[in-house]
Symmetry: C2
Subunit: 225 residues, 2 copies
């Protein structure tokens, strides 16, 4: 006993499962602790509140992803200015790899979708807070890669590029039905390549910035699991 690390993870695992299915409001702490096999009071001891659990469950997966993103971007820019494809790969690859994980990936993405639509300002500020510096960092890199774009246009296109990513990550079954199973979400490498070349072309639309050859060559070594 006294395995506090275990207890925390047990709670977070159960939270990820239950929140993804029922939302935060749809899960009582009693259901949560019973599922996790821990005592009711341990939630407040470790996380302070139910909101604290939701936040911790969110950050547990998002933080490593964002750290990896920044590492990849640093690496891409260390050898000089990075092209659009490299920047986008640094942004997309870590998240795509997690989403491809059959158990936690889907569950986590679904939980995020829940968080996104539930009321409660604390979740909103968590999203903002966790991504603010990542956005800033990537905006700088993209600006360097696409100096012709105005600030407004750059941000607009980042918005679109994020939309592509979010929709791909959240795509559980619906879009697969629409597309007749043509898009296989488990094909991470292929999906990543397609996303990067699609969005890179969108970023370059109407600019004089030359495309970096063909999409595949732009340092896209999709790390498949």
């Amino acid at each position: 006993m006294t395995q506090s690390a275990d207890t925390k993870d047990l709670i977070l695992d159960a939270a990820e499962l239950l929140f993804s299915e029922n939302g935060v409001e749809g899960v009582s702490l009693r259901a949560l602790t019973s599922k996790a096999g821990v005592n009711l009071a341990s939630v407040h001891y470790h996380f302070g509140s139910k909101e604290g659990v939701a936040l911790a469950a969110f950050c547990r997966r998002v933080r490593p992803i964002n750290e990896e993103r920044l590492e990849l971007l640093d690496k891409a820019e260390s050898e000089g200015a990075a092209d659009v494809e490299s920047v986008l790969t640094a942004l997309y690859a870590p998240a795509l790899r997690l989403a491809g994980s059959p158990v936690h990936g889907r569950r986590f993405m679904r939980m995020c979708a829940r968080f996104y639509t539930e009321p409660g300002a604390y979740l909103e500020s968590a999203f903002t807070q966790e991504f603010a510096h990542v956005i800033t960092r990537f905006e700088g890199a993209l600006h360097r890669a696409l100096p012709d774009l105005s600030r407004l246009e750059l941000r607009r296109r980042m918005h679109f590029g994020i939309g592509v990513m979010v929709h791909t990550l959240l795509d559980s079954n619906r879009t697969r039905q629409w597309t007749d199973d043509a898009c296989d979400p488990s094909d991470i490498g292929g999906t990543l390549d397609a996303m990067v070349s699609f969005v890179a072309a969108g970023f370059r639309a109407g600019t004089a910035t030359p495309a970096a050859g063909t999409a595949g060559g732009a340092g896209i070594k999709a790390d498949r699991t």
Copy 2:
């Protein structure tokens, strides 16, 4: 009396409001009828069940949009093969216009986001059912505009293009915060132009299909203050 049309709309208006804020499960029929100012039993008379209300509230807004989409696409193709920009405009413009409506637009999009993450197979099949023929029709048009793309690649890119749209439509406040209010959602024309040129370039990535100049003003007319 016997204002059945009014009663139906009163219920649907209240449903849109309450469902968007609390989800379907979070709204009791009593709360719904009380908000609408109608009798409890009228829900079952007009819609059969609570699910029926959700479905009707969804279809009420989606059907006209999809009809307008098909009309616009028909018109674009009546004068010969439509280019990518025209097809995308037909797809995006009607939805964007609704989302720009300050009252019902935001409320409806939020309700959709709720529906999307709530359990319940009936909502899932409603999404699929309402969009299936639209997707098919637009896929055909895009295939004609981009004959070089394989079926798999076309669908993948449609998926991305839909992601851009969905993310833009749902973007209530979050992305505005990320982008420091640079992207003004109420600037429908500018948003539409930017979306169309971004996604059209993505569709053309790696193909020999020539870009349609700066079609339909969809070039980079970036900054309108």
